[in-house]
């Protein structure tokens, strides 16, 4: 437990974007006066870039610290401080910068600022009457703020704040063009699915806090949790008696799984990945920033943040690894058939995230983070590239209407190619190294069935390169299938759009060398070449794994490259050499094709199994029957009517208006009284 160095720098990093967001918010939401676009872009981009600079400064501060105790903290104020004794909860608004969060904020602010700049061009090109330029940047800044909070938070509650905050922003940005029903639908879908994940997060948080409280050390801050973790590591969770199930679980496993549910929601893993493809309804920069580079990786980050917990929870880790693996495969297969350029990238994102979880589950936390970083670069690059293409095609996203752009988009083609190569894992590019590390981790892991995981990873690598090249060929090669009208107006977009691409392209190319695996380092005589891993080691837990000798690793790398090449080749054959083949294949294996095209019908299944029944029950049973029928109709108004009819159909006739009836009642009454008295 290292106690960190105070640094007031930290809270400025999230504060800057927030200020910008609030400014925009007030302007848009309250004042409604048109602000000049240049001012808007200046404010937002300025804020984010400044945040990036500060982050860099913070990183330097961090690097000043001795390796063993690299930690900056910044306690701002107590947010929720309640409770006494062993249930005292104190959720500070406090930030911690350790290597892990340092990497993250660099990615967030770095990629973030690039995308901000890109957006200036992209959003300006929009043709809607209310392009909502300022609103867009308001959301974007708000997102950056939330993401930074999420990353910098020093306790789970504050992290949850950021966690939900990014969810909100993704909701707002997906549904940014709200006048289209579908976008709005996708937005809420994303939010609600995320909520389901947050449900897990909260439960995990409660379990963790409850256990710690029981152990006498209530804490929500990561430092505190890690410090007292030993006291709860052996606790077990017994199912309540009424379940009559004799099953005892280790608490840490349960906690780990709960948090993982949260991660699934945020990082679009099975079974909660359904929102991400739909999220493509948002503007492309959003897809790049939120749904490729940063937000979706929050799950990974959280898992790594809690690595000490997962290191102690092998079963949970196994679940994570397998979920990740399967997600990677499934998403990849779906990506093969998609025709919408952004959809392809979306599923590829899901698949890559699956990779990262695979790594994390196998204990390769640093590998996960490494891939997170590289993926941020090349996937952002690809998305923005796709965005550029879309702009060039006048907002056409269907690859079927593209093709032959190689000659037309002279700048975009290169950066796009780099992105494709990087993700396909061409040796030397960033994707190659990070993917390689993941495969190694899977191979070496102690996880049950890790060889299968390795196989899945390998296969996925192949499929990945296949569909990426398919995409590239369909878009850039072949003859142009665009409508005649726009065919001659297809050209590279403006500088705001293209220049960021170059930066990203550069990093996607060389980013791998930050974390050059030791095997390659040895190859070219560099001591501990994997600077990233070394940098992260103090904050990441390690799990025992097989030791692999270098030869094995070389073979693995070779096989990875081979299968990638195979995928690429296949793509070449299918989409360049024999373009008519795919349709025939689709016709032959139509069921498979349609299943893939329709994403295994997952959305439909969810709709039929969960959504419709719930609505039906709520409406027919709960509302109409119970509420209106039973409670209100029968019980409440029933009583009232009973009273009324007691009078109107019963007692009333005792007051017939005939004197002698009254006499009768008097005699009866008198008789009764006398009987009672004399009895």
């Amino acid at each position: 437990m290292v106690n960190g160095v105070e640094s007031n720098l930290l809270h400025w990093i999230p504060l800057l974007p927030l200020t910008a967001a609030v400014y925009h918010g007030v302007m848009v939401g309250l004042v409604r006066r048109q602000t000049r676009q240049t001012l808007v872009s200046l404010v937002s981009c300025g804020a984010v870039i400044l945040a990036f600079v500060l982050s860099f400064a913070a990183l330097l501060d961090l690097l000043d610290q001795p390796v063993s105790s690299r930690l900056l903290v910044d306690n701002v104020y107590t947010w929720i401080g309640a409770g006494i004794g062993t249930s005292a909860l104190s959720a500070e608004v406090a930030f911690r910068l350790d290597p892990l969060s340092a990497v993250m904020i660099l990615v967030v602010t770095g990629v973030g600022s690039l995308i901000h700049i890109y957006s200036i061009g992209y959003m300006d090109d929009d043709h809607r009457e209310d392009k909502g330029f300022q609103r867009f940047f308001c959301y974007l800044n708000l997102f950056t703020f939330s993401m930074l909070i999420l990353v910098l938070a020093d306790n789970l509650v504050l992290m949850f704040l950021g966690w939900e905050g990014v969810g909100l922003c993704s909701y707002l940005l997906i549904g940014f063009w709200y006048s289209d029903r579908f976008n709005a639908y996708c937005g809420s879908k994303a939010f609600i699915v995320n909520r389901i994940g947050d449900f897990g997060f909260l439960i995990g948080l409660f379990l963790l806090f409850g256990a710690l409280a029981k152990a006498g050390h209530p804490a929500v801050s990561f430092a505190g949790i890690e410090q007292h973790f030993s006291s709860i590591v052996d606790m077990t969770l017994i199912l309540p008696a009424w379940l009559h199930v004799e099953w005892e679980w280790r608490l840490v496993n349960v906690i780990g799984l709960c948090f993982f549910v949260g991660a699934c929601g945020k990082s679009a893993q099975l079974p909660l990945y359904v929102w991400l493809p739909d999220a493509m309804a948002g503007p492309t920069p959003v897809s790049a920033l939120i749904h490729a580079a940063t937000m979706v990786t929050a799950g990974i980050y959280m898992i790594c943040r809690m690595s000490f917990l997962y290191a102690a929870a092998p079963e949970a880790s196994a679940v994570i690894a397998w979920t990740g693996g399967i997600t990677a495969l499934v998403a990849a297969t779906i990506a093969i058939t998609q025709t919408d350029i952004k959809k392809v990238l979306a599923y590829s994102t899901v698949s890559q995230l699956g990779y990262m979880f695979l790594a994390a589950g196998c204990g390769g936390f640093s590998a996960a983070i490494f891939h997170l970083g590289t993926h941020a670069f090349f996937k952002a690059l690809l998305f923005l590239g796709a965005g550029a293409v879309i702009l060039a095609m006048h907002h056409e996203q269907d690859m079927g209407k593209m093709g032959g752009l190689w000659s037309r988009l002279r700048a975009t083609r290169w950066v796009f190619l780099i992105g494709v190569l990087a993700i396909a894992g061409v040796p030397g590019l960033s994707g190659f190294f990070s993917k390689d590390e993941i495969l190694v981790a899977a191979y070496a892991a102690e996880v049950p069935g890790h060889m299968w995981l390795y196989a899945i990873g390998l296969l996925t690598a192949g499929i990945t390169s296949f569909y990426m090249f398919r995409l590239f060929f369909r878009v850039f090669l072949g003859e142009c299938r665009a409508p005649i009208a726009i065919r001659d107006h297809i050209a590279d977009p403006g500088g705001f759009v293209v220049n960021p691409l170059w930066v990203l392209a550069f990093f996607s190319a060389v980013g791998g060398y930050f974390g050059l695996p030791q095997v390659w380092g040895d190859l070219i005589e560099i001591e501990n070449s994997n600077s990233l891993a070394n940098f992260l080691t103090p904050v990441l837990a390690t799990t025992e794994a097989h030791q692999l000798d270098h030869s094995t690793e070389y073979w693995m790398a070779l096989s990875a490259v081979g299968i990638a090449a195979a995928g690429a080749g296949l793509a070449w054959i299918l989409y360049v050499k024999r373009p008519e083949l795919p349709t025939r294949l689709a016709a032959q294996m139509s069921t498979v094709y349609r299943t893939l095209l329709n994403k295994y019908y997952v959305d439909e299944i969810y709709d039929a199994v969960f959504v419709r029944p719930l609505v039906w029950i709520s409406d027919r049973v709960l509302f109409r029957t119970v509420d209106v029928g039973l409670i209100d109709g029968l019980a409440i108004n029933g009583t009232a009517n009973a009273v009324r009819s007691l009078a109107a159909n019963g007692l009333k006739y005792a007051h017939s208006g005939l004197a002698q009836t009254y006499v009768f009642f008097m005699i009866a009454g008198a008789g009764a009284i006398i009987m009672y008295l004399v009895r």
Partner: protein
Amino acid sequence: MIPAPEINISVLAPIAFVGIGAMFVLMGEVFLSRAQTVMGREVTESFIGTVLAITSMFFLLLTTYAAAVAFGTGDTETFNPSHAMYQLDAFSSLITAVVAFSALLSCALSIAYLAELRINHGEYYALLLLSTSGMMLMVAAIDMIAVFLGLELMSIPIYVLAGFDRRKLRSNESALKYFLIGSFASAIMLYGMALLYGSTGSTSFAGIGAGFERAGSMGLIGLGLVVVGFAFKISSVPFHQWTPDVYEGAPTTATAFMSVTVKVSAFAALVRFLAMTFGPLDESIAGVIWGLAALTIVVGNVMAVIQENVKRLLAYSSIAHAGYLLVGLVTGTIQGYSAMVFYLIAYTFMTLGAFGVVVALANRGQDCDRIESFAGLAQTRPGLAALMTLFMVSLAGIPGTAGFIGKFTIFAAAINEGVVVLSVVGVLMSVVSVYYYLRVPVLMYMREPGDDGHRLEISSGEGAVLVICAAAVIVMGVFPNGVEIWPIQSLHVLDWARESVALFF
């Protein structure tokens, strides 16, 4: 020769004032109707009516004052100690004051109303005064003979008042029913008295109480029949059916008068009879009262729900209130009795006020008493609407009004005695009561005015009465036991109630 008994006339002051008042009124009418002009004002019927009303109000005021003074002194005096019939003590003097005052208020109400209905005769006031004297005799009586005579002296003029609007069938019918059932009931009561007398050998409360142990079943039967007689007068279920008919048919001012004074005095007499005869009730009588109370509360409230005529509604509400009062009687404790007295006073003002509003709406010889005809009153007569709301709220027993304090004291006494089930019945039924009481404000405030032509100006008499009632309701609701604020620092109503019943214990 027969020795003249020593008597003290002063005790008779209250009754005497009323009786003399009656004579004055009768003769006054004769002379006035002969005269053409009095003091330059030519004599019209309404003028006669006004003068006579004021005369009787004057005498009633004297009565009230005398009774109040007697209450203030707080000592107990009988008319002829050798063979006491009439005893003016704290209880009887307080009730006398209340009765006289409410009679006064109903006189004030009557002036304009009778003129509206063209039945503006002095006899009205004379009968009203005579009936009042009967009530006084009844509440002050400590001997069954006096009770019976008082009862009849109270009832007979009211029979007439009920039928006072002779041209109207409903008025006749109300008089007829009241008379038939009334005299039937008093015959039953009389027979009960006979049996009591026979089984105990005495007609005085004390004597009966002394001899009741060896009275046997005959005494019990007698007691039962007497209770029946009272139960009729206080309109307790199942001896209540006459109430709605009579209240609806009678001229509204007469209804106001009888609904208040008869109930108050009959209850007072009942309490006095039971308390002074038996002291603490034995559980058999308590059981009877319990049953009557439960029945009365339930039937009164439930029947009121379906009423469409305000006077009838108020009739059933008065039945229901009789039920709550009986709850106080069931307890048989000083707390319960004092609660009853308080409740009676509260009830007087609420009911008089409510009827007063109905009176103030009567137009062109027509009562404006259908509930529907209150629709939109808040727009045509905001003041009256507000007052009516106040009285309804008070009758419903919502806090801040006398009605609430009344119910509270009653139920407090009941709970203190452990009369829980009855209390639960009571409160549940008062929820029902809220429903029908609030229907009137609903119509007044939440509906648009109908075409019912109700009167659009209010006479000074009615205005005064309404204001007095409203003030009383609020003051008794907020400071039931007075507070050191100027006009009301001496109104310790709760204390009065307690002092008045203290002599029974």
